[in-house]
Structures are given as C-alpha cells and as structure tokens.
Symmetry: none
Subunit: 229 residues, 2 copies
DNA sequence: CACGTTTGCGTTCATACTGTTCACGGCCGC
DNA sequence: GCGGCCGTGAACAGTATGAACGCAAACGTG
C-alpha cells in the first residue's frame, strides 16, 4: 500500500529534489509536483475525481499565489483530508503554531538534509501503519501509539549521554547478528555493560533503526530481543 | 500565562467534570462549557471579539447539532486557530485519521481517568512552553522538540503487569480470527502461555475491545471463547 | 434427580529480566 | 592545577511471565 505524495514547491529545482527524495523512500510514491496554490488544488481535485486521492502533501509555505497554510484551509473546506508535511524556511513561532492548529503533522525547516526528510517520511509511514488495522475498535494505547509515531525523533546530533563511537560499536554488533539479541548479549559482544548497551539500543529503536520484541516461553520476565531493521 | 479552555460536550454532567479537571490542572483555566456546535462557534466568536480568544478546546465529537470535526472545519474557516483535544468515545480508524488531518493535537477515548486528561493537558502545556520563546528564530531541533511534546504518549494508560508489545500480539491474534478463540489457543498462536494470554484477553474485555462467551456441548467445564468486538 | 467424571478456569507464587538511580572515573575548559 | 560535566557501570527495586494446583461447572450415568 504505497502512499501517494504531492510536492507543492515554488522553486522548480527544489521541487524536483523533493520529488526525488520521496521516490527513494520505500512505500512512498511522488505522483506530481506543482508550484502554486491554485495548481495544487486543481491537482488534488483531479486525483480525487479519478478515485485516487493524494494521501500526503509536501508543502512549501511561500507560494506565488498565496500562503501554504491558506492552501490547507481551502483544501479542508473542499473536503480533502490529505495529511501535510510542511517543508519551509518559515521559522517564526506564529507560523509553526498555526501550522499545528490546521493539522500539519510534521514541520521540516529548509535547508534540510535528505536524511531528515527521509526520517520524517518514515515516521509518517509508521503512523499510517499503526492505524491500518482491519479491526475497527481502537484502544487508548493504540491511539497514543499512533500519535506518538508522528513525533519526530530524528536527531542529527546525538542526545546527551551518548557517544558516536559506542553507538557505532553497538550498531555493528546488532547488524552482524541476524537473530534477535538481548541487551546483555549485545553488551558483552560490544564490550560494554548491559546498561550501556540498553541505552544505545533504545536509542536505535527510537530512531527506527532497530526493533524490540519480547521473547516468551521461559518463566520470569520476558527477555527483550533487539534486531536491526 | 494561563491557557484558556472551552469545553464542548453534549452531556452536561460530563461537561462539568471535564471543566473541573481542567480547572485543577496548573496553568489552565476553563472559561466556559457549551453543549453544541452552534454554541461553541458563538462562544469563540464572542471571546475573540472581546480580544481574549480561547486557546484550546476539549471537544466531544458527538454533538446534537453536528459532528465535532465539522465544528473544527467551520471554526478554521472562520479564522480561529484554537488547538483541539478530542475527548470522545469514537474509536474507529476513520475518525481518528480525520481528526489528525484537521489538526487535533491529542485524542482521548472516553471513558478516561482524570489522570489521563491531566497528562494530556500537561503535554500540551509543555508544547506551548517550548514554543513560547521570545526569540523568533526557531531551529529544527526546537520545532522537533515542540512536536514531540505534542504527540508523546503517556505510558500510564496500561495497568501494571501489562506490556504494550504483548497486548499488541494478543490483540493481533484475536483480530485475525473471526471465530471465538479459547485463551489457550490464543496463547499458542501468540507465543505466550495460556495464563498470559488470558491476562491480556481479560484486559481487552474490560476495555470493551473483546467479548467473552462460554462454549457448551462438550463434557467438562465450558471453554471460554474470546472474540473481537 | 443425585453423584461421579471430566475438562478447563482462575489464582498463587517462584523467577528471571528489566529499568532506574546513584556513585565513580575521565576529560575538557578555565 | 582545579572544578564542573559527561559517559559508564553496579546495585537494587520493580515487574511481566509461566508452572503448579485447587476448584468450578457442565455432561453422563445410575
């Protein structure tokens, strides 16, 4: 189930670049790039008429014929429910706040690294996945989970308490083993304590580079196994 | 800098309770409670005219004169930029998704514990605080931080002794099978013991996401079959 | 209708892993 | 040379899991 994306960006060069990045992200497909509010509305309208609505907009806020957030208001009024990732150089409080209030799910400041956009897209994909269940009955924890996926945990700079070298060592151990490894096992393999290993493994999970799954069968609290993703 | 909140809730008793909880949260003030879409719009309009706009809505989605999300669309069209916390018993995918797309910042399922609402309000307050800097120039880190505060889930939703991962595994098994499954069967399918499976199945029953019905006909104590709801 | 049989439920408890707190040692800046 | 900061690990309390076991509930038989 690919996610159809429309790039709305004033600058043609930037638009091409964004489209390229979107195409490279697994699960995403760039279905078009437009350069104005009017063109975006027409594009969305046409796709919806064809029964193939766009799911996500990569939206620049400075457009020749209006503001990006104005476009959001107009497309909501027209009944479109596409999600929005703002990609803009607008770094003022009021704009960010207003973007949140109209339902922008992610906010990426220009200029950005390709990896940053990628990370935001991956988070969005996970959000979609967590709401793509067949069963209709959701619980509070599932809703919370979905909302949490929308938060961006991509840090270009490592958080306090973590070192690049140790992270590399832990990641290397994890990469070499195909089976899931417990925090303690990773620790001994990487030459650090279980606590430190866990710290870095949790960071890898948060940034989406590892998954964590419990190992059942034995008595006692289940062991958490980490695997690369 | 207190945050002015308007409660929009059909049921007067619930509205009072919500208002009470809001008043108890530090930094928040409940400035009113209304029971319909129309009243909400009039209230917001009046407050704005008085130069004292409402910052946050606690919004029930089932209202006598329309759907809560419809209210969101209309108030956005009127230029209001209040943030929305949905407080509703609507637990279907489509509603949650649409709520996200129109800019609902938190989604709280009824019935809820007072602590849950409190936690959501606190997260919102932290989001506001992280965007309340005087300096206008925001960095990507600060924007990310603000978004993270907005969406982060509170783990306290699950009772002691239960894990999100295991709950997910059990719920997935139950969802995939249309016929009723015994606790033992669910256990083996999910890779956990009957006891653990039962623990989580009972939780699902308690939260209204599964039903439990005895299976008669064979000799011996009847088998309890769990089914999704 | 009563009693034994049979089958699975529900609870208690040992158990092993988790997650957190706090103190130590090293490093950089001053 | 010294003080503060930061990454690491040891100890410990907390917690999720499954084995064992007594009991409950329906059927079968007399």
């Amino acid at each position: 189930m690919t996610i159809d994306v429309l790039v709305v960006e004033d600058d043609p060069v930037a638009a091409d670049a964004h489209a390229l990045y979107v195409g490279r992200a697994p699960g995403f497909r760039c279905v078009g790039a437009v350069h104005s509010v009017g063109a975006a509305l027409r594009f969305l309208e046409r796709r919806r008429a064809e029964g193939d609505p766009v799911a996500l907009l990569l939206l620049d806020l400075y457009l020749p014929d209006g503001h990006g957030l104005e476009l959001v208001g107009r497309l909501r009024a027209a009944g479109h429910d596409a999600d929005i990732i703002a990609v803009t150089s607008a770094r003022d409080l009021a704009t960010v706040r207003q973007a949140v209030s109209v339902g922008v799910v992610q906010y990426l400041l220009k200029p950005f690294a390709a990896a940053s956009l990628r990370s935001k897209l991956e988070h969005y994909a996970r959000y979609r996945a967590s709401l793509a269940r067949d069963g209709e009955a959701l619980g509070q924890d599932e809703v919370d989970q979905a909302f949490a996926e929308l938060r961006s945990a991509d840090r270009s700079t490592l958080p306090k308490g973590l070192t690049g070298a140790t992270l590399e060592a832990v990641a290397a151990v994890l990469r070499q083993s195909d089976v899931g490894l417990a925090a303690a096992a990773v620790g001994t393999a990487a030459g650090v304590s279980r606590i430190t290993a866990r710290r870095y493994l949790e960071y890898l999970v948060e940034t989406g580079r590892a998954v964590r799954e419990p190992q059942y069968g034995n008595v006692g609290r289940p062991e958490l196994c980490y695997r690369p993703r």
